[in-house]
Amino acid sequence: MRSIEQLEMRGIHKSFVGVQANRDVNLSIGAGDILGLLGENGAGKTTLMNILYGLYRPDEGEIFVNGEEVVIRNPRDSMRAGIGMIHQHFMLVQKHTVLENVGLGYEKAPFFFPLREVRKRIEAEADRLGLHVDPDKQIWELSAGEQQRVEILKALLHDADLLIMDEPTSVLTPQEADGLFDILRAMSREGHSVILISHKLEEIKAICNRVLVLRKGTVTGEAQIEDVTMADLARMMVGREIADSYPKADLPEGEAVLEVRNLNVQSDQAVPAVQDLNLTVRRNEIFGIAGVSGNGQRELVEAISGLRHVESGAVHLNGEKITNRTARTINDSGLTHVPEERIKFGIVPNLFLYENAVLKKHHRNPFSIRMRMNYPRVKKHAETLVHDFNVDAASIGVPMKNLSGGNIQKMILGREISAEPDLLIAAHPTYGLDVGAAEYIRKQLIERRDTGGSVLLVSEDLEELFQVCDRIAVMYEGRFMGIVPPAATTIEQVGLMMAGCPAGECDED
């Protein structure tokens, strides 16, 4: 018996400090539905789903299951109501087996030897829905697609009738995504319902039967999928024409700044992550690297900037060999780096803003003279950064952790740009930022390009890459599938390369 025949969210309002995340949102879904929840980053999709899963309480609005109001205060309430959520970052214990992960918190299993029962259930689900995964493997041995199946199994064993999936394909290869869609269809046939959070139009079109579009917290469209075209969806989602690109100065091709030859790098798990890679970044150029994350982008950036060992191959900066030099030497020879996961790597949260403003160049004159830090100059530099890069902070004497995400990123970018590097590497610089901050950062990257620098931009945001890059390389399993000029390329062609088709070898039909 299904416990959720019909679920409705009515009149949901939710605001955070100063931001209206959801405004009068209504959502309804029935058994067997696959509902696409479409919207740009920051449109309020995840907030809405976190309310349904009990992670947030709405300011206003009610939730009804089968016509009766339910109160969801925490994830446990939500699980009891038959709702399961699969987060973008999996909630799995890496060192445990699939069985142990699925068995965690599974109430129906006996106290002793609970995994026997779990194994039976997993085998049953595998047969029914095609959810195949080796139950005795440990999570770290599994691909992202397999890990996702473990998450689905967990939800199903907790009797989830309604499954919320947050950007499920962002970590998957296209083949794995197809596999996921087959599973979702099978679930839908069994009467499960699915809410799919996504900002990818094709995906919504391919798998959903209904779609709800959010923009800036409000519903801007709702339709049966067959009644709308991709262009309709795009309009509902964006509400404006996507800017073609940002204005860029027309500059002649400059000399090579970064040259990478036959580069091989290993991942943390000691498997090849970057394989025989070649690339050249020139002066007055923004060189973009596209690709689903986890295809070696991180290892490539770390190897170039001296944070990871290069197995073989060579890296040259301005003609000088910098292979396997220390991060400090490479930095001193003119390469700066805006790291991904900026709070983890890029700042020291408990130190003051001004101390963070010189991280990585604190050892250089004038910020330190011999062994002494020159704090008056450090503070002056911090003041300049805060002013020039519009960092919103109470003062330069506040701990860095007091700043918002966007302002932290502006400060990091400012710090790295103000060193006037020959090469600036920016990894996912606008990830998770609001539209204003993201635009500002893109403009700064272009400014750097126009004033004689060069930029290596790693991003998952294709739109961003098309707007700012001069050339885009598409990375797949540690190799480039092709290097293309955005002006003469479509997003679809890049998408195919991201799925592992070398440029020109796959036709788009």
Binding site: R328, K344, K360, M373
Partner: protein, 357 residues
């Protein structure tokens, strides 16, 4: 009613100081409870402690005597803890300092003028403590060995080395059956204020070390790198900071100044090496709390070191008069440290009580 906890941003110096004082007070209340359980009037007992340490010239002189090693070690520990390197081995770094200085004092002392004997003994003591302190740094970075365990094990090992020396090869010819080395030559013994065990040279050295380490932590490039490593190791890697070099130097200094404390105990008070319990009355452990109470600021350890020296001296005094065991002081230390770390919660979190509608 519901208690809600939020992370706090930065409440400012005065607030933090207030929390510190309140936790200290709470710690003293807890100490009072211990006395009450022993059927001793807690107010009288605590009053007696501070009267014993700060209430008389004798008490003050003794307090300064004990504050010297506590401040020296505490300042060094503050440096190490800033880098999140949990050096619990100051006790043995002190002993190694004493061992090295004893060797220098006994072998070279007789043929040297006083100033040279002092200089070489302090130098040797620093080197002894530094070398012993660098072992756990190497073990941690190259072999992944947890420094808490390695520094502790080295404590036990160093204590046995000292015992081995004083009953074996270094046993003094003039000491009959006692487990002592011979006394240092006169010119290697520090000059003391009359009628006290306080060496003016040591006082100056201690204050200098504490202030210098404070400068190092907050004004030098090295100190900046220490704080970055301690606060965010990932960011330190990203910033190209050399962990091995930095931590090795941190531990050389932290162990070295503990070694200086060992030289001080040797050359000002005991004049010979003897059993480890005699050379150091648990200074290496008490100094952990000194560093913590001093908010890991080496300069503040001057104050917190004096405070704890007062507790040690006053504790000894009431121990005699009230017939309490030596371990009483350790109970104070444990309780005060416990309340200090509890107090940190209120520095980092905001607690509000909400009435539900």
């Amino acid at each position: 009613m519901k208690i809600k906890v939020f992370p706090r941003e930065y409440a400012g110096g005065p607030f933090n100081a207030l929390v510190l004082l309140l936790s200290l007070l709470a710690g003293l209340v807890a100490v009072g409870v211990v006395f009450a359980l022993k059927e001793i009037n807690p107010f009288f007992a605590i009053f007696s402690i501070f009267k014993g340490s700060f209430g008389s010239w004798f008490g003050i002189k003794e307090t300064i005597t004990k504050a010297i090693p506590l401040i020296l070690i505490g300042a060094g520990l503050a440096l190490a803890y800033r880098a999140k390197f949990w050096n619990i081995g100051a006790e043995s770094q002190l002993l190694l300092g004493a061992i090295f200085a004893t060797w220098v004092g006994l072998n070279w002392g007789p043929s040297l003028p006083g100033w040279a004997a002092y200089l070489l003994m302090f130098l040797a003591g620093f080197i002894g403590g530094a070398l012993w302190g660098m072992i756990p740094a190497v073990l941690k970075i190259h072999f992944g060995i947890n420094e808490v365990i390695s520094t502790l094990m080295l404590n036990y090992i160093a204590a046995e080395i000292v015992k081995f020396l004083v009953v074996g090869p270094w046993k003094g010819e003039t000491k009959y059956g006692y487990p002592y080395t011979d006394d240092l030559p006169d010119q290697a013994i520090l000059w003391l204020f009359p009628y006290s065990r306080v060496s003016p040279l040591l006082v100056v050295l201690t204050v200098f070390v504490a202030l210098f380490l404070c400068y190092l932590v907050f004004r030098s490039r090295f100190g900046y790198e220490i704080r970055v490593i301690g606060e965010n190791a990932e960011a330190a890697r990203y910033a190209g900071i050399d962990f091995f070099k930095t931590l090795l130097l941190v531990m050389a200094i932290s162990g070295g100044v503990a070694g200086l404390a060992g030289v001080g105990e040797l050359a000002a008070i005991h004049h010979h090496l003897s059993y480890p319990e005699t050379i150091s009355a648990g200074y290496g452990f008490t100094a952990i709390i000194v560093a913590w109470l001093g908010r890991l600021n080496p300069a503040y350890t001057i104050l917190s070191g004096l405070f704890f020296a007062g507790i040690v001296v006053g504790g000894d005094a009431i121990q005699m008069t009230m017939g309490l065991p030596a371990a009483t002081v350790q109970v104070f230390n444990g309780l005060i440290l416990t309340f200090l770390i509890m107090g940190d919660f209120f520095v980092h979190h905001r607690v509000t009580i909400q009435r539900e509608a």
